[in-house]
Structures are given as C-alpha cells and as structure tokens.
C-alpha cells in the first residue's frame, strides 16, 4: 500500500474511532445534560410561581371560597403542568423526581419539581412537571443533527486528506519514480532536483543524487578497467591464435605435430572463452550493451530449435518445439537474448541422457510472452543453484559445468534485459521459464 493511502486510511480510522466513541456515549451524555437543563428550567419556573404568589397572593390560583380543591394546569399538548394544593400535614419537601401521571388513560412520564412552602399560615405543595418525552425528542433532534454534521465532517476531511496527502507526497513519488524505479543504469539518472519545499524530501533527493554520483564514478572506472583489461588480455591471445593458425597452414606437418597444435589450439580456445565469458559478465553488469533492438522472440526460439535439433537427435534425445504465435520484444538486445536462450538449450542437450526429452515452448501470457525449456536431465544441485543466486562467478561445481560461467551468464543477461526468470530443478529434470514483459 502506498504511503499516501496509508496516511489517509490512518486519518480516517482515527477520526472514525473517535467519532464512534462519541456517538456510543452521546445518548448518556445528552440525557444527563438534558435533565440538568430541565431541572434548571423547572427551578426557574418554581421561582416565578413563588414570585407571583408573593406579589399577588393566591387569588391567581384559588378562589376565595374554595381553597381546598387545589390548582392544576396543563398546557395544550400536556408537555408541562403546574399543580398547587393546600396540605394539612406539612412535611418539608424540596426535590426533583420522575413520576408517571395518568392522563386520558395514558401513562405519561414527567420530570417533576416538588416544593412545599407556607403562605399566610397555610402550607402548600407546588409541583411543576415537564414531559420526559419532550426532553427525549429534543435529545434525538440534537443527536441527529450532530450525526449528520460529523458524518459530513468525516467525509470532507477524508477528501481533503486525500488531496493534501497527494500534494504532500508528490515530490516523494517523483523521487521514487524518476530517480529510483526507472533507473536501470547510472547513466540514466536525472540530476536536476525535484521541486519541493519539504526539507525531508530535499535531503532524500540530494542524498540519492550524491550516492548516484559515486556509483556512476565507480561504474565509469569499471568501464575503463574492462576496456583496458580486454585489450591487455585479448591482444596476446590474438597473437597466439594467429601463430597457431599459421603453423596449421604449414605443409609437411607430422601427425604428432598436428596433435600438439590441436592441444595448443584447445588451450588457447579455453583461455579465450574464459576471458570472453568474464568480459561478457562484466560488460552485462556494467550495462555496456545497447537495448535498442526489436526482435521476434518466437523466431529466435525457432532458429535455435532448427540449429540444435539434429544435435539432440544425434544423442537420441526427443526434442520438441511448441510456439503458438510471434511476439515482438522491443528495446532489447538480440545477441544477448540469443546467448541466454542458447546457453539453456545447450546445457539441456549436454546433460539430458540418451533417451530423454527436451521440450521448448513459447506462449503468450498475461505480462507478455513466456518461453519454457524443460529437460529430463539429472537437474542442478541445490548448492550450485544457491551459488548462482548469490552471484558467485566461479561456481564450485566446475567439474560439471566446465568453466562455470554458463548459468551466471543466463541469470545476468535476464536481469539486465528485464526478463523474469524462474528455474525449477530436481531429479525429474530442469525447467527454465522466461517471462518477456510487453
């Protein structure tokens, strides 16, 4: 997952958790505060009623003839009521409680403020009630308004986070894409700094550029070294080879002389191939091959099959080729592709015993084109495979693979040309799979 996505997701989750906690506890909090508020309002009303009685007497509530029947009044929706009655056995009372009242055969819960007081030597009980249903309705309305507001807030901040993170992370994304993931060789590295005001990204950018300068310097030194080493090694081999060839062309050479010359030629050839293989590996590592050609990879496979079919058949190996359609591989190097596939095929022919089989196939796959070369040989030992994967050039099992460079060359070329390579090897044989990306 991308860093920006993680940041947005974290923000969303953090806000979501906080809001969820709020909404879970909200009914209890609302209820508590609504009751507190109602109690305050009831207290205010009590004070208002007492103030009226003090100012105007009981005449507002009782007629002079009948002071025993009490006074009671509900508003039109029965949301509030006031009750004032004279009591005979006074007990001090100043409290708030919930009480159900039966109104028109319906039980209605009220929050009630009860207060006993004396007026002109009489004792009165004052009750002011407010419907709990009304309080609950208010709570629900506030809860819904908050729910919508917070949901809107969450969505707004989510989209703002996405936009802001995208903008914030953009320089980092540019560094990753332009300066790391798209760089196959040091020469491709763009040194112009990425535009950003974030100091962390500026530091990262300059550090990568500095590192790349050092890599490029050593890369160039290696290139010069390879060139000199190539010259110094190949020139004497060239002299030796020419001299031996001149001897060959001489007349009256005895069989013994010819045998000796062949041995010399064989030694020179081994030396030459070792030097060439080492230089090939170095040059591939040093990106000294152009990747500018377009090739039909299925055609290479067909050519190799035609070339090596007779050699395999001479060894009584059943060799088959299955190719479904052509595939144009762009920006590659034909020679390296051919060397890579040819090395695999030659190894298969070398190690597959008489009566065995080799299957070559080329088929389209999701990513591009897949080439498989499968043999029924004895397989490659896990120890040797480990050495190949860790990049050891001089393989320990050199008795089997003579120079030991063959496998290394296959893997290095695949890496350089961006070809995915998978190898499965065991007692049943060896299978190489190459995936050529479109």
């Amino acid at each position: 997952m991308y860093l920006s996505s993680k940041m947005v997701l974290f923000n969303l989750l953090a806000k979501g958790v906080i809001l969820s906690m709020f909404f879970i506890s909200a009914p209890f909090l609302f209820n508590h505060f609504a009751l507190k508020n109602t109690d305050l309002q009831l207290d205010e009303k009590k004070e208002q009623v007492l103030s009226i009685i003090k100012r105007e007497g009981m005449s507002q509530f009782f007629s002079e003839e009948d002071t025993l029947s009490g006074f009671g009044s509900y508003n039109i929706l029965k949301e509030e009521y006031i009750l004032l009655e004279k009591i005979q056995d006074p007990e001090p009372l100043d409290t708030i409680y919930n009480r159900d009242r039966i109104l028109e055969n319906e039980r209605v819960p009220y929050r009630v403020r009860a207060y006993m007081f004396s007026f002109q030597e009489d004792y009165f009980l004052l009750e002011i009630g407010r419907s709990l249903g009304t309080i609950k309705d208010t709570e629900n309305i506030i809860y819904k308004i908050l729910l919508v507001t917070f949901w809107f807030f969450l969505m707004m901040t989510f989209f703002l986070d996405i936009a802001f993170n995208k903008r914030l992370i953009e320089p980092f994304r540019q560094i990753i894409h332009q300066k790391l993931s798209q760089i196959d060789e040091p020469q491709q590295f763009p040194y112009q700094p990425v535009k950003t005001s974030t100091i962390d990204f500026q530091l990262l950018d300059s550090s990568i550029s500095e590192m790349m300068k050092r890599i490029q310097k050593s890369f160039n030194q290696e290139r010069v070294f390879i060139s000199h080493a190539s010259h110094e090694l190949k020139t004497p081999i060239s002299v030796l080879q020419s001299q031996i060839e001149s001897f060959f062309s001489e007349e009256n050479l005895s069989d013994k002389d010819l045998d000796r010359l062949m041995e010399m030629q064989s030694t020179v050839q081994k030396f030459k191939k070792t030097v060439n293989s080492l230089l090939l590996l170095s040059k591939v590592n040093n990106a000294q091959f152009l990747k500018s050609e377009t090739v039909d990879i299925a055609l290479i496979l067909e050519d190799l099959f035609e070339e090596w079919e007779s050699v395999a058949e001479d060894k009584s190996i059943d060799i088959r080729l299955l190719t479904s359609e052509s595939f144009q591989l762009k920006a590659t190097n034909i020679s390296l592709c051919t060397i890579m596939l040819q090395n695999v095929l030659i190894n298969a022919i070398k190690y597959t015993p008489s009566g065995g089989s080799i299957e070559m196939s080329g088929t389209p796959c999701n990513l591009g084109y897949r080439i498989s070369i499968k043999d029924t040989g004895p397989g490659i030992s896990p120890e040797l495979m480990e050495q190949v994967k860790t990049g050891i050039v001089f393989l320990k099992d050199a008795k089997v693979d003579r120079s030991g460079f063959g496998l290394q060359i296959i893997f290095k070329i695949a890496l350089y040309l961006g070809i995915e390579i998978e190898m499965d090897s065991g007692e049943h044989g060896t299978e190489f799979n190459f995936c050529f990306h479109e």
Binding site: S242, K273, S310, G406
Partner: protein
C-alpha cells in the same frame, strides 16, 4: 589487391601479413599512428585493417583521414577494446566491419571476401562444389536446379569450408565461425560432427560428397 595493416602488436601484425601474402594480397604494415597516417596519405589501398589502440594516437581518428584520402578503401576495425560505443562510432565513421580480437585469420579472410563481394555488387555469386552450386545471396544449395534443404548453420559451415577450400579447418575454427565464443568448447567438436554428418547425409542423397574430407582428430577440408 593491396592492404594496409595498422597494428602495433608486432607478432600479430607479422602473422596477418604472412597469412594475407600467402593468399596473394600485397601488404603494407604500419606499427603506429604516424606511419599509418603517412601510408594513407601516399598509397592507394583496397583494404585497411585498422587497430584502434595505437601507442601514439587513437585509431578512430585515422578513419577521418581514410575518408579524406582513401574514399574507395574498405575498412575492417580490429580491436581488443570492448566498449560498444567504439563499435558504433567506427561504423558511423564509415568502417565496413568490426572484428573483435582475438580472431581467427580464416574469419578475417572470410569477412574480407564477404565485404568485397558486397561492395562489388556480386550478390548473386554462385560457388560450385562437386555437382552442387551454392547460391550465396539466397543461402541455398542447388543440385541440377533442385534445391537441397540445409539449415542456416549447415549452409554457413559448408560455405566457410568452401571459402577456405583445400585447407584443413580445425573444429575450433569451425565452431568459432558458427557460434562465436559463447559455446562450451568441450562439446563443440560433437556439434560440428553432427552438422557435418547432416550435410553429408543431405547432399549425399543427390550426389557424391567425397570432396568433403574428415581429417581425423583435427577437422575437415573441402578438397577440390
């Protein structure tokens, strides 16, 4: 034909001169940049074999002088340097071929002949061996008007032997011509033997191939 060999390594230059003289070329040798420059300015050459790494200068610069003074000369670059940029620059500057060291003298001769044929417009050259004709332009073998099917490698092998007819070509030289330097030497002789066997089998169905001789333990020869 006259050839200038620009090569600072004396033993190698000596072998090339000796080999080419045997093949009836007239040879001049220049061991450094200055000598080469003088020769290029004074003498007309059909071929120039040019080493890039000279002690007193870069052989690449001589290509400019060749372009000025030897417009009709054919140039093959002989170099032990390995940078791909050298090859591109040399070919862009007008070199006709690029042969990396170490090379076989037979390969050099084959390349020289191929360039001569190409430049002279001998694209339809036909070479005769026994009752067979090699059409070098289309890379096919013909027997009395009928095409004999050979694979590309088999044709190249036959052609190389024919170019160097009456000379023993050992297995290493044949393998190098076919596959370059990236095939394991231990098995090369086997691979060559199989291809020769196939050539004999395929051509033998039409006519005798006793001109294709096996030199036991060494290689093969087309004796005409």
């Amino acid at each position: 034909m006259r050839v200038l060999i620009v090569e600072d390594e004396k033993p190698l230059a000596k072998e090339i001169v000796f080999f080419l003289k045997e093949n009836e070329w007239v040879c001049d040798w220049a061991a450094n940049f200055l000598e080469a420059s003088e020769n290029i300015a004074v003498n007309p050459y059909d071929f120039i074999l040019l080493d890039l790494g000279l002690p007193d200068g870069n052989g690449m610069d001589l290509l400019d002088e060749i372009n000025d003074h030897q417009k009709n000369s054919l140039v093959i670059i002989l170099t032990a340097r390995s940078e791909v940029s050298d090859k591109i620059e040399a070919l862009e500057k007008g070199a006709d071929d690029y042969l990396p060291k170490p090379f076989s003298l037979l390969e050099l001769q084959a390349r020289m002949q191929a360039i001569l044929r190409r430049k002279s417009g001998w694209n339809n050259e036909q070479m005769v061996v026994g009752e067979f004709t090699l059409d070098t332009h289309n890379s096919v073998v013909i027997h009395k008007g009928e095409r004999v099917h050979l694979t590309k490698k088999e044709f190249r092998l036959l052609y190389f032997l024919l170019v160097h007819k009456n000379r023993v070509i050992n297995r290493f030289q044949l393998a190098e011509h076919l596959w370059g330097d990236h095939v394991e030497d231990e098995y090369q002789s086997n691979f060559i033997n199989v291809h020769i066997k196939n050539i004999r089998k395929k051509l033998g169905e039409y006519a005798s191939v006793d001109w294709l001789e096996t030199i036991r333990g060494i290689g093969y020869r087309i004796q005409l």
